[in-house]
Amino acid sequence: MPKTGNWPERRGILVLWMSTVLINVTFVETDGTEEHFKVPVGTNMLEAAHSKDIELEGACEGSCACSTCHLIVMDVEYYNKLPDPTDEEIDMLDLAFGLTEMSRLGCQIKATSEIDGIRLALPVAT
């Protein structure tokens, strides 16, 4: 951090630093294959999946208006660490195929250091 006391400059560097913090995310495909990736903090899981060529559909492009990016959080400790879903997300999740108690929309899961190591399964069908 610069010692000049220039706050915008410090903030710029802080933002730059934050965007390079990576967490470990595992996507589990429908056939059981596990794919391990490093995902920058702040990215949502739909963006992460697309950047790594994971076949996760995002029909509404992450606007919380469909249920095609439905993912299942495999470990309950990680599910509990996620912020509660909004009413909008719940409405869309209700439409998802193969809904489980640990289901979330990929576009609404933001990568944070708290969920480092999260394992996300793609549902059998969308």
Partner: protein, 297 residues
């Protein structure tokens, strides 16, 4: 020589609850199309032309028996090359350019462009018959649903529709000098009347300005709301269209999950009841989504 089955929109005409389905396959086995008769001005003439021009059920049965119905496409990581007949050429040509220019001049939007339909080049250039078609889209360019086959923008809260749109669209279309127009829209689950009022107003205004033009309204399901379906059915349209999009088994895979087979069929049945006698109802199906010949039959 096998039948050429392209994943295009097919038009199934439901008339008088007939169980016979008339298709327009792009089969290389069917005889070449002769030059079409000039567009008729009345709905009766349209019905007569449909009865004359529709291919017979035989073409469809031939397609069903053919083992080449399905094509293996592999996966995203290991794709298999697609057959030649499945590829579309990049849109271009004189008619295409003329239509594009006209649309921008009249400030009209098309679902063809917004949804990035792969058939755009073929429809706008006239295809086999030489008759160019385009489908105008109203109620904005942002939909409240996300269907997997469509590239239209999606949002939970699209901007409010332009109250001047029905008038502007009607004037633009009337000035174009067409005989037949298809108007479609995005889904507007966010609006109290789901856009049915705006849709009906557009149809009415077109009919007022040009009573002889045939108007097809390709409507959303309005979540099955009978009042909305009625409002559009009695707006003066000639053809009430609502697409079931795919076979029953694939509805939840292909469409947004707020849409479903029963709801769509009910909308078509309701329209038949509410619309004046003689109004055509129409639906369309996209083939090549993973259905079997039996399920599409």
């Amino acid at each position: 020589m096998h039948s050429r089955l392209t994943p295009l929109l097919r038009h199934l005409n439901h008339r008088n609850h007939s169980s016979l389905l008339h298709l327009r396959p792009k089969s290389t086995l069917s005889p070449p199309q002769s030059h079409p008769q000039p567009h008729s001005q009345t709905l009766d003439s349209l019905r007569r032309r449909l009865a004359e021009d529709s291919p017979s059920l035989d073409d469809f049965i031939r397609l069903q028996r053919n083992e080449d119905y399905s094509v293996e496409v592999g996966t995203k990581k290991n794709p298999l090359p697609k057959p030649k007949w499945m590829k579309e050429s990049i849109p271009g040509g004189e008619k295409y350019t003329r239509i594009k220019k006209k649309l921008r001049e009249l400030k009209l939007h098309t679902v063809c462009e917004e949804a990035r339909c792969p058939n755009l080049g073929e429809c706008w250039s006239g295809g086999e018959t030489g008759t160019a078609t385009a489908t105008i889209m109203i109620l904005g360019d942002t939909c409240t649903r996300g269907c997997r086959f469509c590239n239209v923008k999606t949002s939970r809260t699209p901007p409010p529709p332009d109250p001047n749109e029905p008038t502007n669209v009607a004037e633009a279309i009337a000035s174009w000098g067409l005989d037949y127009i298809v108007i479609t829209s995005v889904d507007r689950d966010d609006l109290p009347d789901q856009g049915s009022g705006h849709f009906a107003e557009t149809v009415q205004k077109i009919k007022t300005l040009k009573p002889t033009m045939l108007v097809e309204a390709l409507v959303p399901d309005f979540r099955g709301d009978t009042a909305c379906v009625e409002k559009v059915s009695v707006s003066g349209l000639d053809v009430f269209a609502h697409n079931i999009e795919t076979v029953e088994e694939l509805q939840s895979v292909v469409r947004d999950r707020r849409a479903n087979f029963k709801q769509s069929i009910d909308v078509l049945k309701l329209a038949k009841e509410y619309a004046p006698a003689g109004t055509l109802t129409k639906t369309s199906v996209m083939l090549g989504c993973g259905e079997t010949p039996r399920s599409s039959g």
